[in-house]
């Protein structure tokens, strides 16, 4: 058991980009696993909500990868790193639960399309999912490294990933809670 730092939308789907909320509020498929296994929950701020608002468009990394958004993410990452440092100092095991496919909160899969921009239309079926971390997660990694704190084990909510399988998602979260690295 330990402390799970979870993406904001795990507890609050109201923060999602329009048409992105999978349920009313709490995303129970992930939260239930943490509760069953006795992990403490710490919710991270949503990097996109305060920056681009509730009426933001769906976007890929390249659209958010600006100096201003990185400064915003770095500010949030500093606050989150302060709390991670507190829990590490208390001897807690720490994991990070992100959102796969997110331009900000992806932990192993983010979204990328260097051509996307302008009028928001793109060919049906265009896939933007690529291996990698979202921008907030990158900034958090930098901030923890600058403090000499190891990056936590990570798992991701996979609802937006093609072929999403809730049992596989649960197994992934459980594996990370049990000490495995993805």
């Amino acid at each position: 058991m330990g402390v799970a730092f979870v993406a904001h939308c795990m507890l609050n789907q109201n923060s999602k980009v329009g048409d992105g909320a999978h349920c009313a509020g709490v995303y129970s498929p992930v939260i239930d696993v943490l509760r069953e296994k006795g992990w403490r929950i710490e919710q991270m701020p949503c990097p996109e909500l305060a920056f681009a608002g509730l009426n933001r468009f769906w976007a890929v990394r390249e659209q958010y990868d600006t100096a201003a958004f990185r400064r915003h993410c770095a500010r949030l990452a500093t606050a989150v790193a302060d709390v991670i440092a507190l829990r590490v100092d208390q001897g807690e095991d720490v994991v990070l639960i992100g959102v796969e496919g997110s331009p900000s909160m992806g932990v192993t899969i983010t979204s990328s399309d260097s051509r996307r921009g302008g009028r928001p239309e793109w060919a049906e079926g265009t896939s933007e999912q690529v291996d990698g971390e979202g921008i907030f997660v990158e900034e958090l990694r930098k901030e923890l490294a600058s403090r000499g704190i190891g990056f936590p084990r990570v798992a991701g909510e996979t609802h937006a990933i093609s072929g999403h399988d809730e049992a596989a998602q649960r197994a992934g979260v459980e594996a990370v809670l049990d000490g495995k690295n993805l």
Partner: protein
């Protein structure tokens, strides 16, 4: 594409109800059952500077929800929250310090439909 399932209801929840002690009121379970999202307030053991920074983020996010007609309530209390909300022009929302899960659930269920939900339903036809 599946229809957006958000509830347009957001509860600012003190840490003691997000991570309740044994026998405490589980705010996440009540919110999940009632269809509310949860914004967790900083734990009481955070250094004050860290808590202050995170309360500022909570206030900015609350401002965005309020601007769009989402319902916001407060579950529990958190020192510094009122001041953080005032900085973005928000008053402390209606709230409850629940003594039981039933009391919390009744409070959440008693809230009127948020303006944003009504607009969303009208737009969806």
């Amino acid at each position: 594409m599946e229809r957006d399932a958000r509830s347009f209801r957001v509860a600012l929840v003190a840490d003691q109800f997000v991570n309740p002690p044994p026998g405490g009121v589980d705010g996440i379970a009540a919110a999940a059952q009632a269809g509310w999202g949860v914004v967790q307030l900083p734990a009481d053991d955070y250094p004050s500077q860290v808590a202050h920074r995170l309360l500022y983020e909570v206030a900015e996010q609350s401002q965005e929800f309020a601007k769009h007609g989402y319902d916001i309530v407060l579950v529990g209390q958190r020192e510094g929250l009122t001041e953080a909300l005032e900085r973005v022009g928000l008053a402390e929302p209606d709230g409850i310090v629940p003594e039981s899960p039933v009391q919390l659930r009744e409070f959440l269920d008693s809230r009127p439909s948020p303006a944003a939900a009504r607009e969303f339903d009208q737009a969806a036809g």
